[in-house]
Amino acid sequence: MAPLPQSQRPQSTSQPSGKGEVSDLKMQLRQHAGSRAPGTDDSKRELFKKVISYMTVGIDVSSLFSEMVMCSATSDIVLKKMCYLYVGNYAKGNPDLALLTINFLQKDCRDEDPMIRGLALRSLCSLRVANLVEYLVGPLGLGLKDNNSYVRTVAAIGILKLYHISASTCVDADFPSMLKALMLNDPDAQVVANCLTALQEIWSLEAGTSEEASREREALLTKPVIYYFLNRIKEFSEWAQCIVLDLVAKYIPSDSNEIFDIMNLLEDRLQHANGAVVLATSKVFLHLTLSMTDVHQQVYERIKAPLLTLVSSGSQEQSYAVLSHLHLLVMRAPMLFSSDYKHFYCQYNEPSYVKKLKLEMLTAVANESNTYEIVTELCEYAANVDVPIARESIRAVGKIALQQYDVNAIVDRLLLFLEMEKDYVTAETLVLVKDLLRKYPQWSHDCIAVVGNISSKNVQEPKAKAALIWMLGEYSQDMFDAPYILESLIDNWDDEHSAEVRLHLLTAVLKCFFKRPPETQKALGAALAAGLADSHQDVHDRALFYYRLLQYNASVAERVVNPPKQAVSVFADTQSSEIKDRIFDEFNSLSVIYEKPSYMFTDKEHRGPFEFSEELGILSVGVESDDNVSPAQRVEASDNDLLLSTSEKEESRGPSSNGSAYSAPAYDSSAVSVTASQTQLVSTSQNQALPAYTPQASLAIDDLLGLSSPAAPAPTPSPSTLKLNARAVLDPSSFQRKWGQLSVSLSQDCSISPQGTAALTTPQVLLRHMQGHSIHCIASGGQAPIFKFFFYAQKAEELAVFYLVECVINTSSSKAQIKVKSEDQSTSQAFSDMFQSALSRLGMS
């Protein structure tokens, strides 16, 4: 059993030059195909090895298919394995040839050697050719009943594979219930685990369409099933334990005794060497105790040590995975980790992704007792490690300063940073000092003394420069040479590339003017003149605004520009608590690493094969917003998007529910972009439509402009006479916006004719069909059996009225789910009828 030395495996890794070698191989294989002479197996083996290695390096050897199949009539297991491998690789591309292999694979499934039975069954299921599914049912059924556990493990996963090739065949053959029976009775733990994984996947995919499946899925979480798994937990392999524990985490025990029983049973899993098992157990503990605050805290204490051990052992990647989870826990309950802060100190050689997490944790756990040590450590990083982390650590010091009560010492540290004379340190610190002064104006005296010494020439980064200028304006009465610094900055107006800095400069010089008019007057004149000539719209507008304001009344201007300010008490948090809770629900998964709930990165519903479908994805993700939107707005915007997508998910929002609650701010903030997209609309429609169409397009603009005011009551046509504009045009961004603004006016289920489902092999089929009915597709996606489409249509009489449709079609159950949104709710039903009748005619023509 000892591994052979490599020298015994001579194998040329040289790349063959071309077809010569392949046809050569073909010849040789033919020679050996029929031969039964002793020793042929060995030479066949060498040939097969060559074929496999050609295949691996990317040379197409599919032309050897028939020869390989001919050679496969052998009892040599190594040859068989190589042949299975070859067939599995090329069967998908050559379904006709794959048929050739069925015969010998089926025969091997009945071999007396269980090893061969298992391998053949696995290969058979891995062919992934849809028209061969009928041949799978028999061998799989036998495989489940095989007396050897190896074959049964293969068969259990084989059924899952069959389900993915053809769900209906799998369900019709009653395989799920056979799996269930096997899962609850098989003596072999790996068979049980594979049944569980297969069933979980099948039932959760079926649950959308079949009530029975969703009932079965629920049944997995009942007490007898969960206890059955828990009692056998020690028999499972480490990987299977992860799967079982993941299931247990979803179980809701009936009372606290049950919770304690389960935790007692699983406590030793925390000592398992496999980190994945430890994390899975932690998840169970955390979720079971959510409602019991005290115990929940004790769970944190209990799992802390194992998690810290995992972080400090294993590869960087593994410890990163665990550290991300620890990070999540620290963020949820920082006070429980406040004494462990030393574990979050960074090592010099750690990768920056680890350091970044640690910095955030250090920031979170800082409290009165450990602030001094933590800040000292963070200051070390500011001087000692790579630049991005140094910046992060300065920001971390600032954050601690903003959340602490005893800021005294920290302010001193920050001011020390300014004396380090490193550009990036100075830049970050200036931004922080500005924030600090907004919260604690009482520190202005100390800070200003130091900030005054900084030469503006050493500050190049826009954010830092803006912060410095803000302070110059805000505290110009305390800084002796503020007017002169500002003046010199204004002299170099044209060299200043950042509009943000120029905007700040205008405001600062005006503030300065109100405090020290004689010294600033000249600079103010120069700034206003430069601002008015500025090519940047915002800068120009602000300059003009200030100019007119000053012209109107200087004291009003002072009240506008420099009102008495209240200290900022709390800076906005960037992530809503709802998101955080969702991430916690998905503990031990990618969500924690990405710090996003899973629907934000796995939902493919809005992705489709078309280029603009990517933009639709934003509809539910909502992270991207325009650069000119201020952070506060951005947070608000993404919160709205979240709201939107969650309510979409739960499908609980009725047609008239609080839709306006979040669409209102969207109107205000996107006022500019509305006009922008309207012009875009005009241009696209002009490009695409015939010239004769232009007047209609301009009509559309008028109506769209009226969008923010209540639309003029239009005569409602009777439902039967609804006519659609065959040449409706709507660009993706407008679609997106409308989809976000409108509430669902109709949500219906309908069925599709069998011909329709048969015709619907790709999304494009339906797309062309609906176009014939004046309903246009804007995005589509999905794979059989589930497709998803977004359609739009425009009312012929009233071009302002669009109908937006989300349509999910399940071809295996011949069902469609339709959601209609429209500006004109009264005709939604008529439109929906029209849509359904169009849908029902699919495949008829």
Binding site: M1, L4, Q6, Q8, R9, T13, I52, S53, T56, V78, M82, L85, M115, I116, R128, S149, Y150, T153, V154, I157, D188, Q190, N194, T197, E201, K234, E235, W239, C242, I243, D268, Q271, H272, A273, N274, A276, L279, A305, L308, T309, S312, S313, Q316, E317, Q318, Y320, A321, K342, H343, Y345, N349, E380, N384, N588, S589, L590, Y594, S598, F601, R607
Partner: protein, 438 residues
């Protein structure tokens, strides 16, 4: 749903696919191009081992000159995926005779395909234990363990072995000489401030075993850890002997250890796998004996001269000694000339890592060699930028010493045939990340 990998790729450093296996059809075949484009050819490489591109997530690890990439399309279990990669690589290593690199992969395509199919089915991890897989996947591969034809050596109870509960040991092993080797390997992590204050210090230890035992032996290991000793004295109802006891912060065990018994009796009892394995891992933060103290003084004299004095003190017993001691003392980038004197070992300037590297092959206990060096710098025209000093780093191994003070009190082997065994116990302490700021 737990991890279900859609594909696994092995790439070389240039980004060529060496070998791959697609487990599911839910990701496109061009996934590896996406990985190359978005990760390998950008600065992203090394910034984060988990990345999302398109709808898929990529987990990647570099092992020698190979990137192992797992692609998943859903919300997978990250810890499980990385653990799988690590275990799979260990498995390949044990098949290839220790090496896992580009050449080893190129020479073993067929074997790797076989193993990849066996350890993962449709994206779900199956059996990864080398002990069991080697029973039926061999490079010779002639025999199947179930095969009734191979009557010459039937493997008893093969079913249980392939999939069953005692997955780590097969029956019927026979050794002429029954031996057990036990190594306690500790690595000390230290972070010390320039003022000599210990900022952070911990020990991560492993108990490694190598067993050559016949039959199905039951082993019992006793350590001088606090909980174990207290429990024992409680059971025997007599006061625990005075002496040093160690408080383990956290322990994890190999799957062979009976955890229930550990929790109730606090003894480590197990049926070991055959050959080499890691029995347990532990972590200690309190009462660590640091083997070395480093006292640096670094003075910047003017703009072109730096004076470095480093004293290293060994604080373990005088009869012991450390091996392979390396002390890396950072110097500025613009170093032009160095001159130094050491009282032990050898030192040289390594410009590639901007360090003075001081090596002492054999370092006895209770001694304190020193190094004094003078460094001349190239005078730069640019404005004086203060030198950010990286920490001094140290490497060493101290045999027969444990930084935690952990000791094996007993190792009992019990087998029903009652043979005699020879037990060997060794201790070694290594430097983990041993950093002293200066």
């Amino acid at each position: 749903m737990p991890v279900s990998a859609s594909a696994i790729y092995f790439l070389n450093l240039r980004g060529d696919v060496l070998i791959n296996r697609l487990y599911r059809d839910d990701v496109g075949g061009n996934m590896v191009d996406a990985f190359r484009m978005h990760i390998m050819q950008t600065k992203e490489l090394g910034t984060c081992p988990v990345r999302q591109i398109g709808g898929c997530s990529f987990f990647y690890m570099r092992i020698s000159n190979v990137y192992v990439v797992i692609v998943v399309s859903g919300n997978a279990n990250v810890a499980c995926a990385f653990k799988f990669v690590v275990e799979a690589v260990n498995l390949f290593k044990s098949y290839f005779g220790g090496a896992f690199d580009e050449d080893a992969i190129r020479n073993n395509f067929v074997l790797i395909y076989e193993l990849l199919d066996e350890i993962m089915d449709f994206g779900y991890p199956q059996n990864l234990s080398p002990e069991i897989l080697k029973l039926y996947i061999t490079q010779e591969g002639v025999r199947s363990p179930f095969s009734s034809k191979s009557a010459d050596r039937p493997v008893p109870n093969a079913t249980l072995q392939v999939t069953g509960a005692v997955g780590w040991r097969r029956e019927g092993l026979v050794y002429k000489k029954n031996e057990v080797f036990l190594d306690i390997v500790e690595s000390v992590n230290l972070l010390m401030s320039s003022k000599g204050v210990v900022l952070r210090c911990d020990v991560t230890g492993k108990v490694l075993m190598k067993c050559f035992l016949s039959g199905m032996p039951d082993l019992k290991l006793g350590l001088n850890d606090k909980i174990g000793l207290e429990k024992e004295s409680e059971l025997k109802s007599r006061p625990s002997k005075s002496g040093k006891t160690i408080e383990l912060d956290d322990v994890t065990f190999h799957q062979c250890v009976n955890l229930t018994r550990f929790n109730s009796e606090k003894t480590v009892s197990f049926v070991p796998p055959d050959g080499e394995f890691e029995l347990m891992k532990y972590r200690i933060t309190e009462g660590v004996n640091l083997p070395f103290r480093v006292l640096p003084t670094i003075k910047e004299l003017g703009r072109t001269r730096v004076e470095v004095n480093v004293k290293v003190k060994s604080v373990f017993g005088a009869k012991m000694f450390a091996l392979g001691v390396v002390i890396k003392i950072p110097v500025p980038k613009q170093t032009a000339k160095t001159s130094f004197q050491v009282t032990a070992g050898r030192a040289k300037y390594n410009a590639a890592i901007d360090c003075l590297v001081w090596k002492i092959r054999k370092f006895p206990g209770q001694t304190e060699p020193t190094m004094s060096a003078e460094i001349e710098l190239i005078s730069t025209i640019a404005e004086k930028k203060s030198w950010t000093r990286p920490p001094i780093q140290m490497e060493f191994q101290v045999p027969m010493f444990t930084a935690s003070g952990l000791r094996v009190r007993f190792l009992k082997v019990w087998e029903k045939s009652g043979y005699n065994t020879v037990e060997w116990v060794r201790y070694i302490t290594k430097a983990g990340s041993y950093e002293i700021r200066c």
